[in-house]
Assembly symmetry: C2
Homo-oligomer: 691 residues x 2
Amino acid sequence: MGSSVADLPHPFDPLSLAEIETAITTVKKAHGDVFFNVVALHEPRKAEMTAWLAAPETAPRPKRVADLAVIAPGGKVYDALVTLDEPKIIKWELLDGEQPIITMEELQLVEHIVRSDPKVIEQCILSGVPEGEMEKVFCDPWTIGYDERYGSSVRLQQAFMYYRPNIDDCQYTFPLDFCPIYAADKKEIIAIDIPKVRRPLSKAPPINYHPAAVEAQGGHRKDLTPINVTQPEGVSFQVKGREIEWQNWKFHIGFSYREGIVLNNITFNDKGNVRPIFFRLSLAEMVVPYGNPEHPHQRKHALDQGEYGAGYMANSLSLGCDCKGSIHYLDAHFPTQAGGVRTIKNAICIHEEDSGILFKHTDFRDDSVIVTRGRKLIVQQIFTAANYEYVVAWVFHQDGTIQPEIKLTGILNTYAMDPEEDTHGWGTQVYPGVNAHNHQHLFCLRIDPNVDGPDNTVFMTDAVPSEAPVGSPENFYGNGFYAKRTKLATTGEAMTQYNGATSRTWDICNTSKLHPYSKKPSSYKLVSREVPGLLPKEGSLVWKRAAFARHAVHVTKYRDDQLWPAGRHVPQTSGEPSKGITEWIGDGSESVDNTDIVLWHTFGLTHFPAPEDFPIMPAEPMTLLLRPRHFFASNPVMDVPPSYSSTPSQLLANGSGVLDAADKISKLAFPNGNGANGASCCSTNGATNGN
Amino acid sequence: MGSSVADLPHPFDPLSLAEIETAITTVKKAHGDVFFNVVALHEPRKAEMTAWLAAPETAPRPKRVADLAVIAPGGKVYDALVTLDEPKIIKWELLDGEQPIITMEELQLVEHIVRSDPKVIEQCILSGVPEGEMEKVFCDPWTIGYDERYGSSVRLQQAFMYYRPNIDDCQYTFPLDFCPIYAADKKEIIAIDIPKVRRPLSKAPPINYHPAAVEAQGGHRKDLTPINVTQPEGVSFQVKGREIEWQNWKFHIGFSYREGIVLNNITFNDKGNVRPIFFRLSLAEMVVPYGNPEHPHQRKHALDQGEYGAGYMANSLSLGCDCKGSIHYLDAHFPTQAGGVRTIKNAICIHEEDSGILFKHTDFRDDSVIVTRGRKLIVQQIFTAANYEYVVAWVFHQDGTIQPEIKLTGILNTYAMDPEEDTHGWGTQVYPGVNAHNHQHLFCLRIDPNVDGPDNTVFMTDAVPSEAPVGSPENFYGNGFYAKRTKLATTGEAMTQYNGATSRTWDICNTSKLHPYSKKPSSYKLVSREVPGLLPKEGSLVWKRAAFARHAVHVTKYRDDQLWPAGRHVPQTSGEPSKGITEWIGDGSESVDNTDIVLWHTFGLTHFPAPEDFPIMPAEPMTLLLRPRHFFASNPVMDVPPSYSSTPSQLLANGSGVLDAADKISKLAFPNGNGANGASCCSTNGATNGN
């Protein structure tokens, strides 16, 4: 294959289908049939990559390397690296007591084994499942997380058990109260956790959201008219391969089996000066601890990305359903465990949306006015983690703001309860016989900043009153307040919590580049308000395993391969010692002042379920902002064309020269009257004086 | 005029143009020429109104009454009530030391007087304004707020002074350093506040955002293609007068000179059962304290609604500029100070938007899936408070959530500085010679709840870990956590602060109505995360005048006319004693347990300006949620038609019966390839296994 440079993958591109096949073939040739849990891009070393990005014509192009985790017969786990230009295994390392990510195939398999296990069948019948109805029994086979009785060396899954009276019923309405434990290597159930107090199968009627069920309840509502979104002249973004350009932004869109969307080399063209902002952005890990302390519910604390993968669990998205308007899609390729390749079509969708008023001002003297509408670019994926769905959107604004946004929907994880049972506050009966346990969704945003260059420093900013008392000369009327800035100079100092009372933010600064007017460092501010903190206590199993969630912010010095803060292999880690971020932080003495750093931000929400969330949850959104502060000379969006503009001089000249570029497609809802006024454009502030 | 009942205004309707005229004529007849600062609806007494709403055919219809505040010659201020059916003054009360709201006419006048005042001219010249250029001098004439040197009995304004080199320049780029004080009764400047350290007029070049200025800087960007939003079959809402029905919601949209949009009698049709939720919702007051403690900046703490009025300052909105799509508008009528009537056309806009995924779930076993898109209804206004604009939107969601949303845009309030001067952290040099002081925007949301009836109770909810230590039998693994609920039984107990660490929320509950499954009271949860608290200190001037901002939440017992928490007449209140909410709370002993209550919530943000905010601010959003919890039996939106649905049985039958109602208008961004896949609908989760 005579390939030109244009044909070569971008060094940040995920492995292509062919590259995955090459890596698999190479390993198979050397080691025979193994299970391929990971075959993914081994990300280019930053030093090499930075050199190449600076001079792609002259610097050496970073080599393509595959990163693998495989399970060989006998449950032996290997980490491997395979070069792809000349296929060659350059690393083959046997691991001890580590379990790689669980695959979709491993999730699929357990249900079949559970259904034919005699002890499970016995428990089902005891719970009230009619004999011979095991095909109506379902399970969500999570990794076991960690159970001190079994440790980490045997690959285990815990099977949350459910029953469906009818094939189209929602099984989460009929949870069973016991939990089989499955050993992957033997493909068998090795134990069943049975609670002291038994809870028989619910006899409540099914509750469903599918059309036939809704029809039986009176049908769908008929009073929604369509809203159409069109871009007759095409979209405002350009895509080359996986690089996108839009409204001065440029970045590369990767996709990782772990993190899903990975954004690399994010730059902003500031009037011809292409300025780096972030080297890499992703959701690097998450944990969903459940708050019921009774055994074995402590094992319910999915680290969904490390244990299952936001890429592996990605939905295939579709036009007019998941996204509306003019959409561009990107596919994803992953290995199958057996050594094939599967493709998720449309794993990422990209589109623009109108985002309301970008800026407006009216001068009250003369009603001279400007009004400009904004636009946003959305790079989105959805992944299904058994019961829950996560809609993850990276929203780019014209003004330099990046807004990660997550919507939660899907179905609550449920447990059986006697309808008269006291939940003791650890959960809510959301439907008769259905106990939805309290839980948190905590996400770790990994920010590898590059704010005007790689050497950055994080400051914590708190809004605080003047220290001087009311009546003192310095603060006589008591109104003084200011932004108190604290430099986070070491990894230890940088372990910081959220403070809602001071509207705490964290500023990622380039202290070598001061703003000409404000004299403050060029920076991006992390504004995040949904920061509940980890509710499981210090020393708890979750606290040990998900150390990234102990603080709202950690800062580490950048090192290659330090991507995932709960460690590379997450299933069945004990947290003793904690993997990932605690190892990188060490004794906390390392300087993160004016050097290449990574900021890890844990945010999310605490969910005390209510019946409104069942049987399927209306989407609950959460968001945060990365905002440029002292980065641009002035407002960077003044050149966005206004919809309407009139200046004092134009108004004096009887409106000549007034700009009226308003969208002429918009219409009155009730053009034939009904109280609506003919809405001519904003030529005046509307005050028609009667006297 | 033989009027049928259908012609009568709804008792919640703002005064019509004719009603305002009737009230003015009646007062003029009795008292001659006075200034009409307020001629507004005297809101119906709640007892009468509730009786009428329950039985509009038989109960007496609440009478129309006008509420007036007038200024008679000599600066005498009167509160008055005028019945409108038979025009008659039923109250005429002389006030002592109270100043009614400032009108647009009063704001307009000062600039002219300032320009011809010899002492002001002298100061302008001293500052560097060329002689004979007083027509280039501008001022924003705020109410003085409060200044202890002058007290409350003389009506005063403080004039923030600016210069425009050219008629179309933004004057906020050229602030002057002194502040004339204007007496309204005499129409003259009575003093000038001159700082000890003088700051000459800036010589920096102007920076502008109007098209000619942008053209001179290289022009507007040309790479934005249009996004069109259309509703070819019309909108999904119905409007009768000012009552709107949409997606089971029904409510009345009022408009007050003070609060702007007022939403009354909000109900939700829950499967045929029309359930009351809120009797009245509005933004009742706000305060914008500035954090520079130097005299006279302590006077910069606009209580914009009480001092100027979110209704009085409303913009006239226009199609395709302020709003996009299919829009319905409502006008507003207000008195002029001289006794006329002015109309703000299109003061309120109402429209629908697609709101992304409402719910989705895919079963990972078989890729059976449902995906349903959501819709929202937006009732919006924009008001211009001198330099700033506030975009206030009341967003209704199909799932019973109400989401007040505020966007800030417009221009920073600025003060003069020497470019080399140290701002001492009280402000930021956003442009050479321009100091933008730190400030907060604190809004008071008035919630008059009616959750399944008027008798409600507020509980504060904190997410907290189990008290039992790790290793104890009750919390062996340490993961236990729960929602700690604290009843706010009295007005004193209800004075509560925000706590970000516990994700604190407030639940408005009907304790007489327990949910059949969860056994918890029917409730609406206030979820608000932008709650910075008042930064001016206890005992400060702002703290005294804006007592509502001392706590995130206050709860009072409902009483007619207790609408505005900083008092009825806000200009020039000293805060000694504090007006409004502190009077209503009294000693804090009054019960607010299971009775008709009002919840006052103060939220907002702290703004440390940056150069990006100048010369015009890209809109900065903030929002909160009022969410139904334990209110609906189950998810209330299951009957929203899905875009796509497939059940396990349909998939087994080779997809027969699968619902594909996806929006067929959406398109691929790049239909001719460019890496995009032909996006057929979500028939599978996309995993095409290669092996």
